[in-house]
Point group: C2
Chain length 340, copies 2
DNA sequence: CTGAAAGCGCTTACAG
DNA sequence: CTGAAAGCGCTTACAG
C-alpha cells in the first residue's frame, strides 16, 4: 500500500518520466499525445490512485462544480414540520450528482449575506421560498451566478423560477368542496400579504367562489400558519367566527392533520360533520385517519426541473422558458364528503 | 457601483499602494503592520467589497471549511419515508454554520467511492447509517480525514460514533408492554443480520422478555422493513403467524402508523384489541390517531453532538470519549393499553 | 514595518 | 508530440 497522502500530477510526471503538462493533457484528453505516452501515464495514474485536487482545478477554472441549495430559515417551525423539504433536497442532490455537481446545503439566517456564493465560485444556486422583498435575489444577480428560485413569485421576468400552478390548486380545491355542496368554506393559510404562493391559492379559492355565486367572507380566512399546531389551534377559531362552516380548505397537509385532531377533540367528525381538504399530498396523507383528500404536487419533479433549469443556464443552453409552472391534481380520499 | 467581478487582494494592493503580502497580513491580522497601513487597507477592502476567494485559500491551506454529510441511499424508501432526516440534516447544518463550515449533502450510490472527500480537501465527514461491511469507513480512514459515524455500530474502537442507547430503547419499550400485561409481543424491524441498531433494540427486547420469564418466540419477529408500507402489510402477517398477539413493538413511528392503518382495516382496534408501540417520536406521533406511544429520541441533539465531535477532531481537541451514547425515553400516549 | 518571491496543484497557450 | 512557463488568488517565510 502506497502512502496516499499527496499524489499530484507531479508524482505521476516523475514516475512516468514526462512533464506535468503532458500528464494533464493525458488525463483530460486534451492536446496531441503519443499513444505510448497515454498508456504509460494512465497506468501510473491508476497505480497511484490519482484523483485531481478540486481546489486547484476550481482556482484555475474559476468554478467549483458546486451548487448551493439555500433554504431561508425565517420560519423554522414550518420548515421543520414539513416532511417534504427532505424529498426536495434529495431529489435535487440526486439530479446534481448525475451531472457531477455537489450540493451545498445552506440555511440562511435573517439578514445574513450570501457572499460565499462568490467566494466559493459556486456554479449555481437554487433558492427555496423567497420574495421580492428579500435582498437575496438582488445579491445573486449582482454576482452574475446562475440561479433558480423555487416556490416564490418574483416579479422580475429575468429570474428563472419553478412553482406550482398554485392558483389552479386553490381553484380546484375550492371547486371540489363546492361541488360537494359546501357553501361556507373556511380557508387556513399562512400570511397572505406576502403575495406569494398562498396568495395565489387564495385567488383561486376566490375565483371558484365567484364562479358559483358564493359570497366571499373574509371572516372565513384564518391566517394561523401552516404548522401542525397552527391547524390544531385553528379548530376553535373556525366556529368562533362562524357556526355554519361545513368545510375547510387547508394549505398544507400537516396543518390539515393538526386541524382534524383539533376538530375531533371538539366533537366534530371528519368528514361526517365537516370536510377537510389539504394541500401537498405528503406520503403521510394516505395513512392518516381519515385518509386526507388533498391537492397533489410532485415534489421529486419539482426538484428535478429546478436542477434542469439550473444546468441549462450553467451550460449556456438558451432557455425555452424561464418560468416553469408545474401542474397540480386533486386527490380525493376520505376527508371530504357531500354537504347534506 | 463598481464592477464586482474580480476583486482580489491584488486590486486592493494596487488601490492602497501596498504589496499583496501586506494586504494579506492586514486582512488576516497577521504580521506587524503600521496602524496607518491597516486603516488604509481596510478601508479600500471595504469600499471594494472584497471577500477572499475560497478556492485559493483552500488550495493554499489544504483545507476547505467544508464537511460532507453522507447518506447512503441503499434503502431509498426508508430514507424517503422518514421525516427525521431533514431535522438531522438541518441541525447538522446549523451547528456547522456556527463554526464557519459549510455542509455538502451527499447521497451515495451502491459501491460509489468517496474520493471527493480527498479531492475537495474536506475538513470532515459525518456518515449516517453504515456498517462494518461498508468500504466507506476504510476509505475515510485511509484519507486520514476526521469523521463521525451516526447510528452505526462499528466494531473499530478508533472510530468516533454517536448513537442512541438502542438496546435500552428495545428494553424499555418491551418492558412497558410487559408491564401492561402483554405476553405475546410481536416485533417489527428491518433486517437484523446487519448487527446494527435494530439488532441492539432486538437484544433489549429479548432481555426484557427473559427478565419476565416470557418465552422468546422467533415467529413473532417480522422483518418487514421500516417504511409506511412495511407496517401496513405487516398487519396481516402478525396474525397469520400467531393468533394470540396482543401487542406490537415497531422500530419506527412511520411503520407503526402504517401498521395501525392495516390493523384498523382488518377490524382490530388500537389499543382496544391490540397495543402498538413505535420508535423515534417524530412530530407526527402526537397527531396520529390514536396518538402513538413511542420511544423518544432527540434528533436535534444527535446532530449537534455529531458536529461537536467532528469539530473537536478537526481542532485537535483530545476526545473525552469517542463513542457517544444518547439516552432514550418512553413517551406514553394512547396506542398502548393494559392487556385484559 | 514592508516588499519580493515561492509555492499550493492545476491547465493552457507557446515554443520547439 | 512534448516540455517549460505563466498564472488562477492566496499565505508565509525571508530579506531588508
Amino acid at each position: 500500500m502506497e502512502e496516499s497522502s499527496k499524489i499530484t500530477i507531479k508524482s505521476i510526471a516523475r514516475e512516468a518520466g514526462v512533464s506535468i503538462g503532458t500528464v494533464s493533457n493525458v488525463l483530460n484528453g486534451t492536446g496531441r499525445v503519443a499513444e505510448d505516452t497515454i498508456l504509460k501515464v494512465k497506468k501510473v495514474a491508476e497505480a497511484l490512485k490519482y484523483t485531481p485536487n478540486s481546489s486547484a482545478r476550481n482556482l484555475r477554472a474559476q468554478k467549483s462544480h458546486l451548487i448551493a441549495l439555500i433554504v431561508p430559515f425565517l420560519e423554522k417551525s414550518t420548515i421543520h414540520d414539513s416532511p417534504f423539504y427532505w424529498e426536495l433536497a434529495t431529489s435535487i442532490e440526486a439530479g446534481a450528482r448525475d451531472h457531477n455537481l455537489h450540493v451545498l446545503l445552506t440555511g440562511l439566517d435573517k439578514d445574513q449575506d450570501v457572499s460565499f456564493v462568490r467566494d466559493r465560485n459556486l456554479d449555481g444556486v437554487i433558492v427555496i421560498g423567497t420574495s421580492d422583498e428579500s435582498p437575496l435575489v438582488a445579491q445573486l444577480k449582482g454576482y452574475g451566478v446562475p440561479f433558480v428560485v423555487l416556490d416564490s413569485y418574483l416579479s422580475d421576468p429575468e429570474v428563472f423560477q419553478v412553482h406550482l400552478d398554485d392558483r389552479m390548486g386553490g381553484y380546484v380545491g375550492a371547486k371540489h368542496l363546492i361541488d360537494l355542496g359546501h357553501r361556507r368554506i373556511a380557508f387556513i393559510t399562512d400570511l397572505l400579504l406576502d403575495r406569494g404562493l398562498n396568495y395565489k391559492r387564495w385567488l383561486g379559492y376566490k375565483t371558484a367562489l365567484e364562479e358559483h355565486q358564493i359570497e366571499y367572507d373574509p371572516n372565513l380566512i384564518i391566517e394561523s400558519g401552516l404548522t401542525f399546531d397552527g391547524g390544531y389551534h385553528a379548530a376553535q377559531q373556525i366556529f368562533q367566527k362562524d357556526g355554519d362552516v361545513t368545510a375547510v380548505f387547508v394549505l398544507s397537509d400537516v396543518t390539515a392533520i393538526g386541524l382534524i385532531k383539533g376538530l375531533t377533540e371538539l366533537g366534530y367528525s371528519v368528514p361526517g360533520t365537516i370536510s377537510v381538504l389539504g394541500f401537498d399530498d405528503i406520503r403521510y396523507t394516505e395513512y392518516s385517519s381519515p385518509p386526507l383528500t388533498t391537492i397533489n404536487q410532485n415534489i421529486i419533479d419539482k426538484g428535478q426541473r429546478a436542477v434542469r433549469l439550473l444546468l441549462d443556464q450553467i451550460e449556456g443552453v438558451p432557455p425555452i422558458q424561464k418560468n416553469i409552472v408545474l401542474p397540480i391534481t386533486l386527490k380525493v380520499r376520505q376527508s371530504t364528503a357531500r354537504n347534506l
